[in-house]
Symmetry: C2
Subunit: 343 residues, 2 copies
DNA sequence: AAATAAAATTCAAACGTTTGCACAAATTTT
DNA sequence: AAAATTTGTGCAAACGTTTGAATTTTATTT
């Protein structure tokens, strides 16, 4: 059943390589070679072919070409959610690089569903894509399914990666970033620093927690599990955790996410905190809003766009190593003791 | 030259329909029909084929299938920039619907370049996509090129559309939205309302300006071109225009964009304005940051996700009409006279 | 039991390219 | 001038699937 019957009844017959050949009294092979710039075809006929192709409005059928060549110029990108700021930036960066290299991107979102991830990978394999850029759904527990489905298709994992899978990996400097952020709080004079930690099923959050702990221990401060608030990544849970942190006597928080930090700010405002001299916050992820809210949030910029570019380049260059994208600490009002939140 | 030589030397031979046929001593045609659920193949052999397909780990080659069928299950989406909040939401909404209908999306970004738009459309045509969802680059002046390239490929334009192109169009209720926003300012008691207008080469901005004007005239207020600030869509120009608006004695602004409104807020803060009772602002586009900044911005929500869904459905249903997605006025601090900005 | 109808399968071509091999023509070498 | 080389084209098969028409098998009717 054709959905588009009412739109276009007669699909315009497109001119093929064979049409060009017929018009010039030569063979499709020669036309193919001419258009491909093969040096074994005479200059003269190459010109003639190009001219005729232009004249007939020829556009190559890449589906046929891909079938014959057994490979395509499409790279699949699998992300949990396209419209999450982090991922849309990764995609934007990757598309940019891939497009320059003559590739196009086929996008699948898993909406954090493991089953959808499997389906997406199968689809991409069925399209015989040249490679896959993948960030796992949050509830994927291992990379076994990927290997089974993708087989020999080159894979680049980014952000959420599984070490048991071969191939390139692009990850944020989670541990180092968390260390830097926590150290910044310590050096600013905060003394009881809690953390809004994420899900320990995710490597990235595990590493951030580790970095937080390392900074504390390197400074001789105690690591206190009672002020580690696990599974806190959204605004609501950030708010609740922050209330508990205040109760516990914390004077600062390192947050593994940006939205949980937003919730924490809600809690601080509600409790009458007035500035970073009273309570400091540094969040991971330099989401657009963090620089615009009040107080503006100190963050770790993960450079998602650059991460996408790195993933694309890793694919293009056939790399199989792990690259760590440094996180940049951006100090704003929420951790700047000399700066009242509301000026 | 194969980039991936070091990654995978032997491309795993994938099992084909022919392999299944050979294993069962039948013909590829029967296998094809069996897998397609054609009623002309015996129940018994259909089961056998499915079993063997499973056993051999068969995955269909959709490239071959597409070539033979002369159509694909890919829909191309062309946007100026993937990682702009509005577009990433449109894409997210469209992908969701299309995926449910068995389609996948190939994404191209034009980075606002007319040439890149042409290239993207050609690429999509070369892939013989089932349809194209398109939002034009800002410097495209007409839709002629689209018709020439796309031919009979179904087209759905969204947000930035050209009326001279046939096919479905999904647009925001720009005029109505601007009217509503401006009327809200008028009803709130503001008396000299300027506007941060966009580029008049873009239909959307023209309509927003028209809606602004209609509201003024419907209320007996003068339309004063000296407080219409054209080409003002980024933070910097919004800032500068707002300074002029203040100078000109305005007490409110309707902004055609969100970032220009952000710049306007910068200007107001700098000039010592303290609340919406002194100066009101309503912006178009309910970007995420608008609800989180201080003062929170009153906005018109364009419902980009729903717009993407509508575009996808328009394609699936073969519609050729124009759908108008209503804009929802969200009143926040920036236009709420009872609410000091800084509380 | 022969004739007819229905059901299941096979045959072969097609989709538009690409490419190894063969071949002819033009050019260079002996 | 014959032999060897280079240069440019053509031939035909292949990529993996789908599909109209032909054919075989099975079931139903006379």
């Amino acid at each position: 059943m054709d959905f588009h019957t009412n739109v276009c009844i007669f699909a315009a017959k497109m001119t093929t390589i064979t049409d060009i050949a017929a018009a010039l009294g030569i063979t499709p092979s020669t036309v193919s070679r001419a258009l491909a710039g093969n040096p074994r075809v005479k200059e003269e006929t190459r010109i003639a072919v190009q001219k005729k192709a232009e004249e007939l409005g020829y556009e190559p059928n890449v589906v046929a070409s891909n079938l014959r060549k057994g490979q395509s110029r499409i790279v699949g990108i699998v992300v949990p959610r396209i419209h999450r700021e982090f991922f849309s930036n990764v995609i934007g960066g990757a598309e940019n690089i891939l497009n320059q290299a003559g590739y196009n991107v086929l996008i699948c979102q898993t909406l954090e569903s493991f089953d959808a991830e499997i389906k997406a990978l199968k689809t991409l394999k069925n399209y015989r894509v040249a490679g896959v850029l993948l960030s796992h759904a949050i509830n994927s527990m291992s990379g076994k399914h990927v290997k089974d489905i993708l087989g020999s298709t080159p894979l680049v994992q980014f952000d959420r990666v599984f070490p048991d899978l071969p191939g390139a990996k692009i990850v944020g400097a989670n541990c180092e970033g968390a260390y830097k952020a926590t150290m910044h709080l310590i050096e600013s004079g905060y003394r009881k620093i809690g953390t809004l930690a994420g899900f320990m099923t995710s490597q990235a959050y595990v590493e951030r927690l580790a970095g937080y702990r390392m900074a504390l221990e390197a400074s001789g401060l105690p690591y206190d599990n009672s002020i580690v608030f696990y599974n806190t990544i959204v605004r609501e849970t950030g708010y609740e955790a922050a209330l508990k942190a205040i109760e516990a006597g914390c004077d600062a928080l390192y947050s593994s996410g940006a939205f949980s930090a937003l919730g924490a700010v809600d809690a601080l405002k509600e409790k009458g905190f007035k500035g970073a001299d009273e309570f400091g916050i540094v969040a991971t992820s330099n989401e657009g809003f963090t620089g615009l809210m009040s107080p503006s949030l100190s963050t770790l910029n993960q450079h998602p766009f650059e991460m996408g570019e790195a993933a694309a380049r890793a694919f293009l260059e056939g790399r199989v190593d792990t690259q760590v994208i440094p996180m940049e600490l951006i100090i704003r009002q929420s951790s700047n003791k000399n700066n009242k939140w509301l000026k």
